[in-house]
Subunit: 426 residues, 2 copies
């Protein structure tokens, strides 16, 4: 018991120091010039490539431990670093360096009747805590996004990737030093103790926002216990609605791609809604293609009239984020019924309509309350890279602050700037 | 005990119904056309003016009860409705109606290399809960801002203003009905029971954001207990820094206005920082003016060398939000020391520099991390009306989402819209 208290105190003390150092570094990185931040990013990229051997050796230790501890193959897959993966990390850093610096941009600067000029300046959030699973490449990506946006970063990766993350952290430190930026601008938590996360999400005086990346239960726990604001990513129960005025080819192509291009991603379609007037034509064709791809179908009774071998969908199926080759299908009367279904069962992540009808497309875009709303495009496009944000730190399913893919701009905020000439309030 | 449980259950049931009705109404108000929302705002304005007698009578009941219960004069002052006050409320509604509708605005719509077009559409947050003190005019202002921004509102005013708020609510209902909008778009909580607030801030499934307006302890309690995101307004420890390259006249005029134009507002200067090189010239002049206005001064030792009758400032004074005719004064070496002081003791609300030096003005604007940063202007300008936002629902001292005065736009968010032509992810 005594030991536990001592350990807890030690972790608490360690994290407080991390927080204080991050806060101090955030003031320096927040005002750093664009060319200095970009120089650091390029130096980190170079250091990562130069350290390929060391990174692979460190990763080998994590992989061996993971295999010994019986880590699932999917997790081992995410944990593994390859020479190609290291090149991709370095390339990602170079792309972020090539982006426009959002910090300091002033918009809407206008004269007011009082004579003052009022505008908004984009500024860093301050200190960002990122909690993620055992994917070492996130360490480099997240550090780069925070750096570019002028924020100090505290990174807490999965304990299974500890050696890999430390090796990447060494490269980051090298790059920061080469550009003359403070080492504390990016801190990688060095303990596997879970208590460190508990401290991190409660240090509201040192941390401005927490971005958790991981499973739903982790994110729910962090949201519940955090005293720091959280940008969170929960479910992706994404829909494609095939309208009766859809082009058949586009409907089949998009609905097939949205489900099968990748199964485990949050922007994969989980429920297909089909207008009654087109179901008879489109469902047999789609059913055949899904079957060929090995997708299990679960449908409403009307769906089963058209595709008799389909299992019956239960109420739970409409809420389900399968992340697997399973698809729920429902025949609806019209677009209004489709939008009601999306509002009731959806997770406000990404929803698409397939239609050639101008007025319906316009209504769907406005009325569906999701972070991404699409017309005649696959839900799989909901991604920071595809949207042109550069890398993404995550996809927000929150409404406040950042909605959808969060890139460099999502890690900034805006303050008001006022220019006067001795103006006073009357 | 049994009764308490029953009461608690009744309140919980009542608030759940309020929440469900708000959620349902938010879908209708969210897609309402601009002219319909504006028609409702104008109809409410007309109803308020037409109901002047009834409003004054309802307010009389609250005022009498307030006097009987020994409410403080300042609170009674806020509680009171006058014919002029009712005209001002109506005028505020007409100004909000005249503003541009932010909902549905699409920005940055660009073609991506994949062929899709990606942009952002401004959309309502959904359901907004506003908790405020006994100022009946907030009922009309808050309802109008929520309505214009396409949100459903749940309003919980101070129990001392219950009759006044119900009378204003009747006018709001009249206006909503006249425009054909659902009555539940604006709900005024009808119970004085504090448990209603406890329910409101926890109904994350029905409420998207809470805006508390009131004393610091109320806001801190709500932030601590809320399960719904809170846009909060804590301290305003605002600074004016007089640089040694300041114009003397501007320095005296602005520093005097920032303290004395109103004492009880959050954007009033609480600490004056003066560069060593100009203190000898500016402090005696300012000291005389503050004394004439009855402002109590508390200074550092250098300040007291120049103004001997000034009290010594303690460490607490640098943190203090006096909201009173008291001012802390500190002589600093230069702008860097001033910015360090602001970073250490400030509340990141509003801070100003008085200088004619271009490079220092530029640095101050970028490096001071406050919701409003000013050059040669009074901190008192930090206000939604002065900034051209129309009315404000509050001033946010948070960094995420909205920073500084929150107007109609602060009650909206942005979703991504994607337009394709059968595009799929490769």
């Amino acid at each position: 018991m005594n030991t536990n208290v001592e350990t807890t105190n030690a972790i608490s003390h360690y994290m407080t120091t991390v927080g204080q150092c991050a806060r101090a570094a955030s003031r320096i990185i927040g005002r750093a010039e664009t060319r200095v931040k970009d120089a650091a990013l390029l130096a980190i990229a170079e250091a990562l490539e130069a350290a390929t051997e060391a990174l692979l050796a460190a990763n080998r230790l994590d992989m061996d431990a993971g295999q010994t501890n019986g880590l699932e193959p999917a997790l081992l897959d995410r944990l593994e670093l390859t020479p190609k993966g290291i090149k991709t990390m370095a390339q990602g850093l170079r792309e972020i360096a090539a982006q426009t610096d959002p910090v300091g941009e002033i918009t809407d600067l206008k004269y007011r009747p009082s004579g003052i000029q009022v505008g908004r300046m984009r500024v860093p959030l301050g200190v960002i805590g990122i909690i993620y699973e055992s994917r070492p490449n996130v360490t480099a990506d997240a550090a780069a996004l925070c750096l570019k946006s002028g924020n100090a970063a505290i990174l807490r990766g999965g304990s299974e990737a500890l050696h890999s993350n430390q090796a990447i952290a060494a490269c980051i430190q090298h790059g920061l030093a080469a550009a003359g930026l403070p080492a504390d601008a990016v801190q990688v938590i060095e303990t596997a103790d879970r208590a460190a996360v508990g401290e991190l999400i409660r240090m509201a005086e040192y941390v401005d926002v927490i971005v958790p990346r991981g499973g739903k239960s982790l994110i729910e726990r962090i949201s519940r216990e955090a005293r720091v604001p959280v940008i969170k990513h929960l479910d992706g129960v994404c829909h494609v609605y095939i309208d009766d005025r859809a082009d058949m080819d586009k409907a089949v192509t998009v609905a097939y791609n949205a489900k099968t291009q990748r199964y485990g991603t949050c922007n994969t379609m989980e429920t297909l809604l089909v207008a009654d007037g087109i179901a008879e034509r489109v469902l047999p064709v789609l059913g055949e293609r899904y079957r060929a791809a090995g997708v299990e179908l679960r449908g409403c009774s009307k769906t089963r009239d058209l595709l008799p071998e389909v299992k019956i969908a239960t109420e739970e199926d409409w809420y389900a984020e399968y992340l697997a080759p399973i698809l729920a299908i429902r025949v609806v009367k019209d677009m209004d019924e489709a939008m009601d279904h999306i509002a009731t069962y959806g997770s406000a992540h990404t929803d698409a309509i397939i239609t050639e009808d101008y007025s319906r497309a316009r209504r769907f875009l406005r009325e569906v309350d999701s972070s991404s709303v699409m017309v005649n495009a696959s839900t799989r496009f909901a991604d920071g890279g595809e949207y042109g944000l550069g890398a993404e730190v995550g996809i927000s399913t929150d409404k406040l602050h950042a909605r959808g893919p969060v890139g460099v701009e999502g890690l900034t905020t805006q303050k008001f700037v006022v220019l006067g000439d001795g103006h006073i309030r009357q």
